[in-house]
C-alpha cells in the first residue's frame, strides 16, 4: 500500500471495522504526493491565524486559530453571520483564506492547486443544512455517487452503500426517490453519502437547521455514532439546546476569532489524567 494513502495518516485511531486498505484506492491529495511519516501523530486539522475578508468594512475571520485532534467531536458555534459556514468552506476549499494556514493532515489546504482540490474533498464528508441531495435520484444513487467518483467497482459500491444506509437507519430503502422522503430522511441520506467513503473528517454545517428539535437530536446522535467509530467530526450549529444536551468540545466564533468555550470530555479526561499523574 503506497504511503500516500490516507489510511496511513489515520494510524492510531482504533476503529472496529475500518481496517480496509483496499477501500481507499485514491491518493491523498494528488498522485505522487508523499505523506510525512509523522502525519499519523500530528493533529488532523490545524488553523493558524486564518483571515478571510469579503467586505473590507466587515472582516469575517480575523486570525482564527484551532487545533483538532484525531477522533475529536467539536461543536463550532457563534451568532448568525459570524462565519461558521465560511470557516468550513475554507477547509473544503470552496473559499481560500486571505492569510494564514489551514493544515489538514499536515498539508496546507490553502496552497492546493485547482486539480488537487477533488483529492482533498475525497477525504472529507460534508453535510449541509439544506441536505444537498439530488431529488430525482434514488436514495442509492445519492449515496453511491461518492463511491462512483472513486471509480469503485459496482459490486463493492452496492455493498458499501447498503452498509451506510443501514448505519443511518435507511436499510432497504435504496430504491426510493430521494425527493419524496421527509426532511429528516433526506438528511440521513446526506449523512450516508458523507460517511460511505469513510472520510478522515466530517464537516457538518448546521445539519439540524432544517429539522424539528426531536429530529435534530436524532441526527446529532447519528453523528455521535459515526464519531464513536473513530471519525473526527466538526459540527457547526447555533442551536444552544443541542450543544447543551452534550458534553463535547465547543469552539465559539467571536469577532472573527475562535474562542474555546468548553474543553469537552476529551479535555476533561486529559486533565484528570494529568491530575491523577500528579497525585
Amino acid at each position: 500500500m503506497p504511503a500516500t494513502q490516507l489510511s496511513d495518516t489515520r494510524r492510531g485511531v482504533e476503529r472496529s471495522e475500518s481496517a480496509r486498505p483496499s477501500s481507499r484506492p485514491f491518493p491523498f491529495f494528488r498522485a505522487g504526493a508523499r505523506a510525512e511519516a509523522t502525519a499519523g501523530s500530528r493533529p488532523l486539522l490545524v488553523l493558524e491565524d486564518v483571515h478571510k475578508v469579503f467586505r473590507p468594512d466587515r472582516p469575517v475571520l480575523r486570525g482564527a486559530n484551532l487545533v483538532v485532534e484525531r477522533g475529536e467531536f467539536v461543536f463550532i458555534t457563534g451568532p448568525s453571520g459570524s462565519g461558521k459556514s465560511t470557516l468550513l468552506q475554507l477547509i473544503y476549499r470552496r473559499q481560500t483564506p486571505d492569510d494564514g494556514r489551514i493544515l489538514f493532515c499536515g498539508r496546507d489546504v490553502a496552497r492546493l492547486t485547482e486539480t488537487s482540490i477533488p483529492f482533498l474533498r475525497r477525504n472529507l464528508g460534508i453535510v449541509f443544512q439544506d441536505f444537498k441531495v439530488v431529488p430525482h435520484w434514488t436514495v442509492f444513487e445519492n449515496v453511491a455517487i461518492a463511491l462512483e467518483i472513486l471509480a469503485m467497482p459496482r459490486r463493492l459500491v452496492r455493498a458499501r452503500v447498503a452498509e451506510a444506509l443501514e448505519r443511518v437507519g435507511l436499510a432497504g430503502r435504496g430504491g426510493e426517490r430521494t425527493g419524496v422522503l421527509s426532511g429528516g430522511e433526506q438528511q440521513r441520506v446526506a449523512v450516508a453519502r458523507a460517511i460511505v467513503t469513510e472520510p478522515a473528517l466530517i464537516l457538518a454545517d448546521e445539519p439540524t437547521g432544517n429539522l424539528d428539535p426531536a429530529l435534530a437530536v436524532d441526527v446529532l446522535t447519528l453523528f455521535e455514532e459515526i464519531h464513536a467509530t473513530g471519525t473526527t467530526v466538526l459540527f457547526a450549529t447555533h442551536d444552544h439546546s443541542l450543544i447543551a444536551s452534550r458534553d463535547h468540545r465547543v469552539v465559539c466564533l467571536e469577532e472573527g476569532r475562535l474562542v474555546e468555550a468548553r474543553r469537552g470530555l476529551r479535555g476533561w479526561h486529559e486533565r484528570l489524567r494529568v491530575v491523577g499523574g500528579a497525585a
Binding site: 473544503y92 470552496r94 486539480t115 477533488p118 483529492f119 482533498l120 474533498r121 475525497r122 477525504n123 472529507l124 460534508i126 444537498k132 441531495v133 439530488v134 431529488p135 430525482h136 435520484w137 444513487e141 445519492n142 455517487i145 461518492a146 462512483e148 467518483i149 472513486l150 471509480a151 467497482p153 453519502r193 467513503t197
Partner: protein
C-alpha cells in the same frame, strides 16, 4: 469500466431530460436534412461534371477527309504528343450516321447532306492536363494547313465548372451553418439541462469529483444528440431517395445520361462524426462556467 460508468450516467441524464432532448434532436434533424440534401445535389452535379469533363477531348475539324495524306500526317504527329492518349478519325458520313442514330427524330433527317458535318479527328487527352496547356495545344494544332479549327469545349465546360464551384461554396456555407446550429442547439439544450442539474453537479464536486468526471456524461449526451439527429436525417433522406429514385432517373437521368447516386459513404461518416463532435463541443462549452464549485 470507466466508460461504462460514464455512459450509465449519461443514460440517466438523457432519461431525465428526455422531452427537452427530443425537441433538440428534432431541430437538429431538420438542419441535417438540409445539409444532406444539399450534399446530395452537389455530389450528383459533380458526378455529372466529371462524366463530361473526365478525359478531356479535343475535336480537330479538318478541311479534307481524314484519309488524305496531310490528314494522315497530322494524325501521326498528334499520336506522338505526350498529352495525347488516342486519336480517332471520323469521316463526315460517320458523324452523320451517328447523329441520326442518337437522334430521336430519326426519319426525315436522312435527307441531310453528308458534308453537313465536317470530317474531324477526335483527340482524347491524357488526364490531368490543365486548361492552359490545352489552349496551347489547340493553338499549335490550328497552325496545320489541313486544320480548319479546333474545338476545346472550353466555354461550355468553363460554365459547368463555375456552376459546380458555386454549388460547392453554397454547400460549404450550408455545412458551416448547420455545424454552428448544432453547436448552438446542443449548447442551449445542455445549458438548460445543466441549469436543472446544478444540484447534481454541486454534489459531485463536493464529493471530490474532477471536472472530467462531471463533464463526461454531458459530452456523451451532446454527442448522442448530434449523432441521433444525423442518423434520423440520413434515414429520412435515404427513404425519400428510394421513393423518388425512379422518377428522378427517368427525368434528370434521361437528360444527363446517367443514374443518380445516394450520398457517398465517406460523406455519411463525415456528417455523423461532425455531428457527434459538434454536439460534444457545444456541451463542453456551455458546461464550463458551472464547474466552479
Amino acid at each position: 469500466m470507466k466508460l461504462r460508468a460514464i455512459v450509465a450516467r449519461a443514460r440517466r441524464g438523457l432519461r431525465g431530460d428526455l422531452r427537452l432532448y427530443l425537441v433538440a434532436v428534432a431541430c437538429l434533424t431538420v438542419a441535417f436534412v438540409c445539409l444532406g440534401a444539399a450534399l446530395w445535389g452537389l455530389e450528383n452535379l459533380a458526378a455529372l461534371h466529371d462524366r463530361f469533363a473526365g478525359p478531356r477531348r479535343l475535336t480537330v475539324l479538318l478541311r479534307e477527309s481524314p484519309d488524305t495524306t496531310p490528314a494522315r500526317e497530322l494524325r501521326a504527329a498528334l499520336a506522338e504528343l505526350v498529352e495525347v492518349r488516342s486519336v480517332r478519325p471520323r469521316t463526315a458520313a460517320e458523324l452523320r450516321d451517328a447523329f441520326l442514330a442518337d437522334s430521336a427524330l430519326g426519319e426525315g433527317l436522312e435527307a441531310l447532306p453528308a458534308d453537313l458535318f465536317p470530317a474531324s479527328l477526335e483527340v482524347t487527352l491524357v488526364p490531368g492536363i490543365d486548361r492552359e496547356r490545352i489552349r496551347a495545344l489547340a493553338e499549335r494544332i490550328g497552325r496545320f494547313p489541313v486544320v480548319e479549327g479546333v474545338e476545346t469545349y472550353e466555354g461550355w465546360l468553363g460554365g459547368f465548372d463555375r456552376i459546380v464551384l458555386g454549388g460547392r461554396i453554397v454547400v460549404g456555407g450550408l455545412a458551416l451553418l448547420v455545424l454552428l446550429s448544432v453547436l448552438a442547439v446542443v449548447g442551449g439544450t445542455i445549458r438548460l439541462t445543466v441549469a436543472g442539474r446544478r444540484a447534481e453537479i454541486e454534489v459531485m464536486k463536493l464529493c471530490g469529483a474532477t471536472d472530467g468526471f462531471v463533464r463526461g456524461p454531458f459530452l456523451v449526451e451532446g454527442a448522442v444528440q448530434g449523432v441521433v439527429a444525423a442518423a434520423l436525417a440520413t434515414a429520412l433522406l435515404a427513404g425519400l431517395y428510394v421513393l423518388g429514385r425512379d422518377a428522378l432517373d427517368a427525368t434528370v437521368g434521361a437528360l444527363t445520361g446517367g443514374r443518380t447516386a445516394f450520398l457517398a459513404p465517406w460523406m455519411l461518416v463525415a456528417m455523423w462524426a461532425g455531428a457527434a463532435l459538434a454536439g460534444a463541443v457545444g456541451s463542453a462549452v456551455s458546461l464550463r462556467r458551472y464547474l466552479t464549485v
